[in-house]
């Protein structure tokens, strides 16, 4: 399997309150590990992973954002060009669930593009649940997005987040792909067909197991 080859390059951003486990979900997904000693994210961190969806390879460029409220000023500038959004809350932090709608609205306000979203309730491993599954489902239904409960600690359902997101991304990209062949020059940089990655890709990048 060639690491460099992919069909589409897609930007995905992960949003949610501070401390809900955004970085841990990504570390589990991209590097297959969970670290107790992790660091609060400042600004935005970056991960790459190639996702196989049926016969296609989608290269995900995942933006891991700082969750503290006052960082939203900065966060808004990331939204541009995002094709996928993962909204995360913590099952043991009621506030983080209450704030999800705020995050969703900030996206609706700043982008008119259609994005593939998914709602994730993390920390399924904890006994101290404060948000019921039905509540998450209801919220996801309201905004017409898939919903999933996960544990980054136990690596439970983490792959599923990206599989489900990947399915939706593929459908959308294939629709757009038809448009591209009609009007190839109008496409912006974040959307590329059958692109070969050149050799400058760093081996130190966080995901080389894909």
């Amino acid at each position: 399997m060639s690491l460099g080859y992919y069909d589409w390059l897609v930007k995905v951003i992960v949003l949610g309150d501070s401390g809900v486990g955004k970085t841990n979900i990504l570390t589990q997904f991209c590097d297959s590990k969970f670290s107790q000693n992790y660091t609060a994210t400042i600004g935005v961190d970056f991960k790459i992973k190639i996702l196989n969806v049926q016969d296609k390879k989608i290269k995900l460029q995942i933006w891991d954002t700082a969750g503290q409220e006052r960082f939203r000023n900065i966060t808004q500038t990331y939204y541009k060009g995002a094709y996928g959004i993962i909204f995360v809350y913590s099952l043991i932090d009621r506030n983080s669930f209450n704030n999800v709608e705020g995050w969703i609205k900030s996206i609706l306000e700043s982008t008119t593009d259609e994005v593939c979203s998914i709602l994730v309730g993390n920390k399924l491993d904890s006994q101290d649940r404060r948000v019921q599954t039905a509540e998450g489902e209801k919220l996801a239904q309201k905004y017409n997005m898939p919903f999933i409960e996960t544990s980054a600690l136990e690596n439970k359902n983490i792959q599923d987040i990206f599989d489900r997101l990947g399915q939706n991304l593929k459908i959308r990209l294939e629709n757009e792909g038809q448009k591209v062949s009609n009007n190839i020059h109008t496409q912006s940089g974040q959307f590329k067909l059958n692109q070969e990655v050149n050799q400058t890709e760093q081996p130190t990048s966080s995901c080389n197991s894909c």
Binding site: N37, A40, F46, A66
Partner: protein
């Protein structure tokens, strides 16, 4: 209850304030170095070597710096203790240059302290620990996510506890700023260099936030106006000095914001950060931060030139995963010699930005070129806005 200055543990709950002081801090917990002792007991090993705080901070073996410091110290009559030595040295004209060369490790904290707090009013640390801050939750979320790879912050009861208290106190002292991510890193590094001196770390951090040379409170408050001012200033200077550097599509949050909001800690090796902070203490944050970033671009230009957006993404999330290499001494030299920002530029840019979107910070910075007026404005502002003194 006895003497208010001393007793903390029995302090009554203040009903008008947020939260309740259910944590009873004993006076000895707050004493400088007390945490060091308990850590030493825990680790039972060569503490300073392992924890690398205080006197054991590695410093760059720079012969020139050593000689200059030795010569300067030799001219003093009283060199018995470090504090007196620095207090005598800091009145000398060559002091700032000595600091830029890098103080010998045992002099560093006193040097920073002198540059930050000399002539400033000491605030009552205990007073700000009497009640819990509004954003207690946000602070607690980050306490075990701050430099935890460092021995001092591995133990909940030591460095983490001190870090928590200082951040609580800061948030209470400056309720208009509160807690912002990034402060945790700044506070942690100061705590390491101080050798766990909690009181003094608080005093120094408060000066970084409110002193007219630094004004970091505007970096961390809602809307982060100083951060955005830096971004604008840095882009202006990049266009002038490195017009060919391709930053199209490179989001500032991937690299610049991280350096600005964590004072380089999120991005550089700790040792390199400490050297950069020598520079910041001398120059002040307002000019020091953009000058260092320009110096950084200068000494890594050949590498940055090849970078695409993704490379910016990967190389600024901790030095372990970064391919960028540079010599911090060269960076400081470049910042000082080639990227010196004059006061007028700060004022001009502030006035220009003010036309589009006025703000308190831009108001203050528009006076930056006139030191006296600027100082007066800042002092007045700090007194009216914050719960100080």
């Amino acid at each position: 209850m006895g003497n208010n200055n001393v007793c903390l543990g029995e302090m009554q709950n203040n009903p008008t304030r947020q939260g309740s002081p259910e944590t009873k801090w004993k006076r000895e917990d707050l004493k400088s170095g007390s945490c060091v002792q308990s850590l030493m007991d825990k680790e039972n090993a060569n503490f300073f070597k392992m924890v690398q705080c205080g006197p054991a901070i590695p410093h760059y073996k720079n012969e020139h710096s050593n000689q200059r410091w030795a010569k300067a110290i030799a001219t003093l009559n009283n060199t018995d203790d470090i504090q007196t030595t620095i207090n005598l040295l800091c009145n000398k004209p060559e002091f700032e240059e000595l600091v830029l060369l890098g103080p010998p490790k045992q002099y560093r904290w006193e040097t920073w302290k002198a540059l930050l707090t000399n002539g400033q009013i000491q605030l009552s640390y205990e007073k700000y620990l009497e009640y819990k801050p509004i954003d207690e939750k946000n602070i607690l979320k980050d306490i075990d996510r701050t430099l935890v790879q460092h021995a001092l912050f591995k133990h909940e009861s030591c460095g983490q506890e001190q870090l928590k208290r200082i951040l609580f106190a800061i948030s209470n002292a400056l309720p208009g700023v509160g807690y912002c991510q990034g402060m945790n890193f700044v506070c942690a590094l100061a705590l390491i260099v101080s050798g766990c001196d909690e009181h003094k770390t608080f005093q120094c951090f408060m000066q970084m936030l409110t002193n007219e040379k630094h004004l970091l409170c505007f970096n961390f408050c809602h809307d982060m106006p100083l951060h955005f001012f830096f971004i604008k200033l840095i882009h202006y200077l990049i266009r002038r000095k490195f017009p060919k550097l391709n930053l199209k599509n490179v989001n500032d949050s991937l690299w610049l914001s991280k350096m600005i909001l964590s004072l380089f800690i999120y991005v550089f090796k700790l040792d390199d950060c400490i050297r950069c902070w020598d520079y910041l203490m001398v120059r002040g944050m307002i000019r020091g931060i953009p000058e260092l970033i320009l110096g950084f671009i200068d000494v890594t230009y050949k590498q940055l030139e090849q970078f695409k957006e993704e490379d910016y993404g990967f190389n600024f999330q901790g030095y372990e995963s970064s391919t960028i290499q540079f010599n911090v001494g060269e960076l400081i030299y470049a910042a000082k010699q080639k990227h010196n920002i004059d006061r007028q530029l700060i004022s001009r840019l502030a006035i220009q930005m003010k036309r589009n979107k006025p703000s308190q910070l831009l108001d203050l910075l528009s006076h930056f070129e006139n030191i006296q007026t600027y100082k007066k404005h800042v002092q007045f502002y700090m007194k009216t806005i914050f719960d100080l003194y």
